[in-house]
């Protein structure tokens, strides 16, 4: 992704009028280059696996992975597990984000809340939260609850930290101006601090949407009745290499989709913020 970023930033900022017409063909060429390399890589992979007679539980051939994906989707098995994982991830994302934003607002607004809560936040912030997954399974069982808790804990921290930073980023002159208008503390929050925090909150959501899936999958690894993480573990135990790879592809499609949705949301919410409107490689491809 960074390679794509760099290439796009490196391109001359403004095309001259003459170059304007060739924009479409330039884009078509770019796509051809990207796809061409993909075909080359996959083809080489296929040939190497066959030529070297690699066992499919170590490295399956792309054709085997495609077959496994087709089988899994045709039987409805993948959809069932996918639904469980996506539901847990989205619930965790929603709960963790909302709690993070609300608690962040409370900490940023009331000094006593900061004094009481913030020390624990600092302590837990630097802890690798996925290490809590076994405890959540112990406390909340093998069902979906432990996945939602794990996922929401991961989403909570970036939203909490970014909301506090965002609310404190409100411009001093704007605060002064609002005071001169006789604005109350709540009005300063509502008309100034909260909108000022939105770019930070949206950046937090972008981080959280990735973490939501991680939190869910890790909790599923620890123990679950259903979900893509469980499926991977079963496939792993059965030495089903093509199956595991096909689920990984499914997971990256889910991750990418959730990411694109959050980026769209960000562009819409921050329509007034020029820095949020930059070209976005994920939505362009």
């Amino acid at each position: 992704m960074t390679a794509i970023d760099r290439r796009q930033d490196g391109r001359p900022a403004a095309a001259s009028p003459g170059q304007h017409r060739s924009r479409a063909s330039e884009k078509a060429r770019d796509i051809a280059v990207t796809l061409g390399f993909l075909v080359l890589t996959v083809g080489t992979w296929e040939v190497l696996v066959r030529a070297l007679h690699l066992p499919d539980y170590v490295v399956p051939a792309p054709s085997q992975i495609a077959m496994a994906l087709k089988r899994g989707l045709a039987s409805g098995l993948y959809q069932r597990h996918l639904g469980v994982t996506v539901y847990a991830a989205l619930m965790g994302f929603a709960i963790g984000s909302v709690v993070g934003i609300v608690l962040g607002a409370v900490i940023a607004s009331f000094r006593f809340a900061e004094l009481i809560v913030y020390p624990y936040v600092i302590m837990f912030k630097s802890m690798p939260k996925v290490a809590l997954a076994p405890l959540f399974t112990l406390w909340f069982g093998l069902g979906i609850a432990s996945k939602i808790v794990s996922s929401s804990i991961l989403c909570f921290f970036p939203l909490l930290v970014n909301t506090i930073a965002g609310l404190r980023s409100a411009d001093e002159d704007r605060i002064s101006l609002m005071r001169s208008m006789g604005a109350s503390k709540f009005q300063i929050f509502w008309y100034l601090r909260f909108p000022s925090a939105l770019p930070y909150i949206m950046a937090g959501l972008e981080l959280a949407v990735v973490l939501a899936l991680i939190g869910t999958i890790v909790a599923e690894f620890v123990g679950a009745h259903a979900g893509l993480g469980t499926l991977i573990q079963i496939q792993n135990a059965n030495m089903d290499g093509p199956g595991q790879f096909s689920v990984l592809i499914l997971l990256s499609v889910v991750g990418l989709t959730m990411n694109v949705i959050v980026r769209r949301l960000k562009k819409w919410v921050l329509h007034w913020d020029v820095s949020a409107q930059g070209s976005d490689p994920n939505t362009q491809i």
């Binding site: 704007r174 002064s176 101006l177 006789g182 604005a183 008309y191 909108p195 913020d273």
Partner: protein, 275 residues
């Protein structure tokens, strides 16, 4: 809670004897700092501003001009003394004071019209009625047609005009301006000076203008107050009796030059002015 500025404004007489609208009595400000102890920013200052008058305040950097303005605007409290704005204490005159700062301080997520309407929202006034007022103010500052735009789409001068429209929308009787044109280029600044005079002649607000530019002060004001270096106090109160409306050409006249020289001499003897 909802104060209606229009009610008071319409009852105002035609300023026969220019009664004191703003009364500043022995107001001083001392900041407490950790490293340097108490720092006196503003020495005890007493001055009265007549209703509908245009007063400019000039002085060297850090002399406490902005401190005085912030006290009048209710942004920060004075250490000692008393401020009365139409009989009410500073900070209690909700809706009766408009403030314009050096930068436009617009809210980027609000359209120009929404920015101008901000004081209306804060004061909880009737939005439908004030929407017309806001459109009229945008017309006054020659921004008609830009109400749906966002601040980033406007030039610096246009943004500052929007800030003036915002300061005027609730029809406050006092307009406080802190270096409002300091960030603009010289050409735009001169144009804005002429515009501000036009707006003032039309609206007749009491204006307190802080500026670094002596010609700007003389061009716009009825009275120029000259402040000393920190801790600031008012050294001189100079009446500018040039006829209005003043065109840019008055700046070349001998009377204008005499006023400018006189004010500049204060700074030369008192230790300079920058800008």
């Amino acid at each position: 809670m909802v104060h209606h500025p229009h009610a008071a404004a319409s009852a105002r007489p035609d300023r026969p004897a220019a009664p004191a609208a703003i009364s500043i009595r022995a107001v001083s400000k001392t900041y407490r700092t950790r490293d340097h102890g108490d720092v006196a920013a503003l020495a005890a200052t007493t001055v009265e501003l007549g209703d509908g008058s245009f007063v400019a305040l000039v002085g060297p950097s850090g002399c406490g001009k902005s401190t005085l303005l912030k006290i009048l605007a209710g942004i920060q409290p004075q250490s000692e003394g008393e401020v009365l704005i139409h009989g009410r204490r500073a900070g209690e005159a909700r809706g009766d004071v408009g403030v314009v700062l050096q930068s436009p301080v617009l809210f980027p997520w609000r359209s120009i019209l929404q920015n101008v309407m901000l004081p209306v929202a804060i004061l909880g006034l009737d939005r439908a009625r004030y929407r017309e007022e806001a459109m009229a103010m945008l017309g006054l500052v020659e921004l008609q047609g830009f109400e749906g735009r966002y601040p980033r789409e406007l030039s610096g001068g246009m943004q500052q005009r929007a800030a003036i429209a915002r300061a005027l929308v609730t029809d406050p009787r006092l307009l406080l301006m802190d270096e409002p044109f300091g960030a603009l280029d010289a050409m735009t600044r001169e144009h804005m000076n002429v515009e501000l005079q036009r707006i003032w002649l039309e609206k007749r607000k009491t204006v307190l203008l802080i500026t670094h530019s002596i010609p700007e002060a003389v061009f716009l004001a009825d009275r120029v107050l000259v402040m000393s270096p920190r801790p600031g106090r008012i050294l001189e109160d100079i009446a500018i009796d040039l006829p209005r409306p003043r065109a840019m050409s008055v700046m070349g006249g001998p009377e204008f030059g005499r006023h400018v020289t006189r004010i500049r001499d204060f700074f030369l003897t008192e230790g300079g002015i920058d800008g």
